[in-house]
Structure formats: structure tokens, C-alpha cells
Amino acid sequence: MRQMKILIIIICIPLLTACQALPRHTDAADEAILRTIALGREGERMILIAATGGEQSGEETQPPEVDTGEGTDYASARDDLKEKRQASLVHVTDWVVEPDALPDALAAFVADPELTYSARIYVLRDQTARAFMDAFDGENPAVKALEDLDRAREERGVTVLELSADLAAGRPVSVPLLVAEDGTVEVRGEMEIGAWR
């Protein structure tokens, strides 16, 4: 009886794996831990540019990796990005979006369980998502520049959760407008969002 039970368990494990009932195995070393996402539109195409924070390996610091995904909407752009590179969006802490891509960004949070609502959200002022990411180099990643910005302003940016809650309650929300130049980020006003959808 005991041998039978063990046999059943041994048979069940590959079966469950084949049916994708067990979680998928990944390797931390292959996974890009994305920290900043810039979202924008180029014509009809949705552009998603994601950057890691630059990993510290002993004494050395790896430069941040930047990957781009394109598609008709957020979901297809994300899939395109993940096809190119095994990436985790769980740790994305900053979303920088073009004004016309803001509804897509908020819809993404509703649809994508991998995204965290504690991420901060910013809107770009007169700058494309691609231009924003191009403003940073290997030594100065976007996530660090945004952290420095928050520290300098002595207030944290608006989180997606706060934004969603206020909009759901019918309250207008002010989102910082950003411009990036030469590895630094600057707030140039605020954009008031009154409603979504």
C-alpha cells in the first residue's frame, strides 16, 4: 500500500508538470529584474521600454539593461518584450508614460497580475518614452534618477493605487510632469487627471 502511494506520487509529478499544473521553473540569473518602464505611442504602435536597475555583483556594478517591446497595445508590447528577454515586471517601481498612453497604463494594471499597484506613476512633458530612456546611460540608471528626484522633492510620487483609488472616488489627481535630460530628471508642473475611461 505504501509502495503504491509512492508510485502514484512519482507518476503524478511529471503529469502535473506536463499539464503545466505546477509552477514554471525559472533561474534568477537569467531573469532581468525590471525597475523602470516607459510607455508611449509611436503612431499606432505601443512602445514599452523597460530598464533594470543595474545589478551590484561584488565590487562591480553591471550597467542597466534596456529592452524594448512593441505591439498594438500594452499586452502585445509586453509579450514582445518577454519574447526577447526573460524578464520580471513584479519589481517595477516607476512608470513613466506619455500623456496619451496613460489610459493604457492604467488598464494594464487592471489586466496584468504581475504588476504591482505600489509603483509610482509619472507623465512625460513634451518628451517621448524613447527620448526619456535615451537620457540615461549605464552609470546613471533611470530608477536611481527617479529616486533622487523624490528625495529632492521630499515627497514621493503618486502610486498607481492612490491614483486608481482617487479616480474611482471621483476625485481629481495631480500627477507630476517629467522631463529627463543628461541622466537627470526634472519636474515641470503637474497634470490633473479628472476621470479615466
Binding site: A28, I33, S88, H91
Partner: protein
């Protein structure tokens, strides 16, 4: 293969006598015989096993009176009534009794057609030393030894009550090992004491040379790695167990006392708990419970986090782990399992080797090989930290048997985690809870006092101030539940 039923031991039921003894021990070169001419006329023959008797006692208590005193017309009665200067002079009924008396350190005296037995055993034994497994800074520092009577005396010195019951049995067809069952009459649940006594007396083995077969025969659950009895070297801990309503067992030749039944809370107590201030003792007990969790779950949780649920970790930790795994050729689950195996191998190597060499093996293994493996990028430093932390946490557990069981469960949980992440761990923990809920010792659940009914008692939350520790272990159903006014 057909194995016939263990046949009963062939007993020498014939009447005892000198020639019979010579025949029984015909192949024993340590068997000694001496003939003595008695002052009143006649002869006596003395038989003993060399090394089992103390020569001075044999000379002074047996030889000297027989050689100097006249025992009159009825020398057997005279010898029994003071002619031999020993506290005990027995008259065995059978040859088997006489032979057993000789192996126990007796001297047989064949006198006027009768055989008398005089116990003059050697008392060569190890002195009472410090307990190696359960040291404390404060409190008593004596430990049990291999001699059973020394052990009972160590208990009696602490519990001077005449209610302390000591029931002695002989177990083992060939070893004829003395096993004592101890309890406090009127305090301990009598059903518990009776149950232990019956099981000890019902044990039919060739030789009883270790504690585990004895405890295994007494306790109910056999198909578990978790210990169902408390094994201690310390008389103070043994006495505390008796006073809490447990039953104690001593086995001759084993320098440990067994306390039954064992439950989870007892395995997490240390002798120092009773000697420390109660708040400190409670805090340290909390640390031990925490370490139990760390030791059991940390490697499995690391595998789950690094290989399946990367999002569980904070960003900084995820980045750090990801960076440390760069250039490491093996996957996180295999990395952890291999290091756990290496840890077990080092531990086994260290414990099998002589003490000082063993320490060197541990140091070389952990520091030199570990560091070299990390530098060679065979393992990531985070995994070395995780496995070492789990191993060190395991060393905080006071009971070695429990720690060994947890080592095996830790490995199993890591394998399950490697297969299915947190789902696998949950599955493993569910199985563990089900298994532990089934484990019983003498009808008492292993999970007591936390389950099946969370009963209040001194063990429920480790130490409490003396004025609040008014109850014994209620789940043992002692006859006297209160231990103070």
C-alpha cells in the same frame, strides 16, 4: 527465506550443583574453581567468573570465614545464618539461577551437597562526570553512567521520597540486561506506569545493548523519524520529568535515562530553562522555536523564491540574488540540494572521526572548501549563507533525535519545493502535520500540549514563574495534578 520462530531459551532446570556449573561453563576459560578444606571437616568448592567478582570481597567475605570458622554439623544452615560474612547469601533453586548468579558477579559455594550463592560483584565503573550532550553554565553538572544502580542512586539523592517506585526487570535472553522502570507512586498516572512495565517485561530479544530498541518497543508509533521518548544524561532533568508525571526507564550499560512519553514541547526544552530567570528562559525558548522554523523551511523557501516565485522578494534582494547567481552553472534547486548533501556529509565525517580531527574536518570543509566553491562560481554565496543558516539554526535544538529528524524533513521539503515551489512546501507541511498528528507515545499525542486539545500546563509555553506553575503536565493525566499550594 523461511525464518523459524524464535525458540524459547533452553533453561537448566535441574538442581544446582558444582559439577553442573562446571558443565555449564565448560567452554569458559574465565570460570574459576577452588576447593577448600573446612576446619570442622569436609570440603567446600568455590566457583566464580574471573573479572566479574571483586577478589578482596571474595577473600574476606567468603574464603576467610569458611577457612577459619567451624560451621558445625549443619554447615549449610550455619553459612546462611552468618557463617559467610556477606549481606546476602542465596540458595538458588535451579542450575540456571546459579549460572545467572555467577554472570552477575556472584560466587557459588558448593557445601555439603548444597549450592549457595554469594554476590561479590566487582563495581568497576566510570565515575560520575559532566554531561557532554546537555551542558549548562548554571545548575547541576553530574551525568548518568553505565551502571544502573549508580543511576538510580543519582535519582534517589534528588527525590528522597519513599513514593519513588523502582521496578526492575531482566530483558534479553543472552544479555540479561537489567531494566528499571521508575515513577512516583500516587503522582504518576498508574495506567502509564503499568503500560511501560508490561511492555518492558514483554520484550523478548536476544540482547538489549542500546536504548533505541527498548524505547521503540515501549512506544506506539514505529514508522516515524521523530523521537517518542526523551533521552537525557542529566539526573535533574530526569527527576523533573518524573515529577511532571512521566515514567522513567534505565537500562544497565546505557548512560542515559529515558522519559516517556515524549512530546514536542519536551524536545524543545533545555536543562538551562530551569536555571535561568523565567523571562530569559522564555525568550530563549522562543528563539529555539524560531530556529526550528528556520532550519526546516529556509532552504525550501529560498528554492521557491529563487526558482519559482521571484516576485516574492523585495527588489533589492532579488537584484542581489540575481547578481550572485551570475556565472553559476547549476540551477538554484540543484544548488541547494547539493549543498544540503555536502553539509550532511561534512557533519557525518566530523562526527565519525576522532574529536580533534573531526573539528579540523568541519573547519576545512566549511571554510576552505566552501569559500573555494564560491570563488570557483560552483555555488552562489547566497546559497552557502542559506544552507549554513539552516544548519546552524538546527544546532540550537536541544534534542539530537529531533534535530536529526528535522534534517531529513528539511531535505524532503527542499525536494518538494524544487518540484513545485511554494505549492510543494505547502503540500509537504500538510503531510508533516498529518503525520505528526498520528504519532503517539503511550497514547499521548506527540503534539501535546498544543494539540489535539490545547491544554494548559507548564510545558504549554515553556517557563512560567514558579508561583504560576501550579500544574503538572495535564495531558499525562497525573494522579496529582497540582504541584504546589
Amino acid at each position: 527465506m523461511f525464518v523459524p520462530y524464535h525458540p524459547p531459551r533452553s533453561e537448566h532446570t535441574e538442581a544446582p550443583g558444582g559439577p553442573g556449573l562446571e558443565q555449564v561453563f565448560a567452554r569458559a576459560d574465565d570460570f574459576q574453581r577452588r576447593t577448600l578444606h573446612l576446619p570442622g571437616g569436609g570440603e567446600a568448592a568455590l566457583y566464580w567468573l574471573e573479572g566479574m567478582v571483586r577478589t578482596e570481597r571474595l577473600n574476606d567475605y567468603v574464603l576467610r570465614p569458611l577457612a577459619t570458622l567451624s560451621l558445625g554439623d549443619d554447615p549449610v544452615t550455619a553459612a546462611l545464618e552468618g557463617g559467610i560474612w556477606a549481606g546476602t547469601v542465596l540458595r538458588p533453586a535451579t542450575l540456571q539461577e546459579a549460572a545467572d548468579g555467577l554472570t552477575d558477579g556472584g560466587c557459588a559455594v558448593a557445601l555439603a551437597g548444597a549450592l549457595l550463592l554469594v554476590p561479590v560483584p566487582t563495581e568497576e565503573k566510570r565515575g560520575v562526570e559532566m554531561p557532554e550532550d546537555e551542558p549548562t553554565v548554571k545548575g547541576a553538572n553530574d551525568a548518568f553512567v553505565e551502571a544502573i544502580r549508580t543511576n538510580t542512586s543519582l535519582v534517589r539523592r534528588r527525590l528522597k521520597t519513599c513514593r519513588l517506585a523502582v521496578a526492575s526487570s531482566t530483558v534479553g535472553r543472552e544479555s540479561r540486561t537489567t531494566v528499571d522502570v521508575l515513577w512516583v507512586e500516587g503522582l504518576t498516572n498508574p495506567a502509564l506506569a503499568q503500560s511501560v512495565l508490561e511492555r518492558v517485561q514483554g520484550l523478548d530479544v536476544d540482547a538489549l545493548l542500546a536504548a533505541e530498541p527498548l524505547a521503540g518497543a515501549i512506544t506506539d508509533t514505529h514508522s516515524t523519524m521523530f523521537p517518542t521518548f526523551v533521552s537525557t544524561q542529566r539526573p535533574d532533568r530526569f527527576c523533573q520529568g518524573l515529577m511532571n508525571g512521566m515514567v522513567g526507564v534505565f537500562c544497565d550499560g546505557i548512560a542515559q535515562g529515558l522519559l516517556l512519553p515524549g512530546t514536542v514541547s519536551m524536545f524543545l526544552r533545555t536543562p538551562a530553562d530551569q536555571n535561568n530567570q523565567w523571562l530569559v528562559a522564555r525568550l530563549l525558548a522562543g528563539v529555539r522555536y524560531l530556529c526550528l522554523g528556520v532550519s526546516l523551511l529556509l532552504p525550501a523557501l529560498y528554492i521557491a523564491a529563487a526558482a519559482f516565485h521571484f516576485g516574492l522578494m523585495p527588489a533589492a534582494m532579488a537584484e542581489s540574488i540575481s547578481a550572485s547567481r551570475q556565472s553559476v552553472p547549476i540551477s538554484p534547486p540543484l544548488e541547494v540540494l547539493l549543498l544540503l548533501l555536502a553539509f550532511e556529509i561534512l557533519q557525518e565525517a566530523g562526527s565519525r572521526m576522532p574529536r580533534f580531527t573531526g573539528q579540523n574536518v568541519s573547519i576545512i570543509g566549511s571554510l576552505v572548501v566552501g569559500q573555494a566553491a564560491v570563488t570557483a562560481k560552483l555555488f552562489s554565496p547566497v546559497v552557502v549563507v542559506v544552507v549554513s543558516a539552516a544548519g546552524i539554526a538546527g544546532y540550537t535544538l536541544p534534542n539530537n533525535d529531533l534535530a536529526n529528524a528535522l534534517r531529513a524533513v528539511r531535505f524532503a521539503l527542499s525536494v518538494l519545493s524544487a518540484l513545485a515551489g511554494v505549492f510543494g512546501i505547502a503540500l509537504g507541511l500538510a503531510w508533516l502535520c498529518l503525520h505528526l498528528a498520528q504519532v503517539e507515545g503511550l497514547g499521548v499525542s506527540w503534539l501535546a500540549p498544543f494539540a489535539p486539545d490545547a491544554e494548559k500546563g507548564p510545558s504549554a509555553a515553556t517557563r512560567v514563574p514558579v508561583r504560576r506553575a501550579k500544574l503538572r503536565e495535564v495531558f499525562l493525566h497525573p494522579r496529582e495534578v497540582r504541584n504546589q499550594r
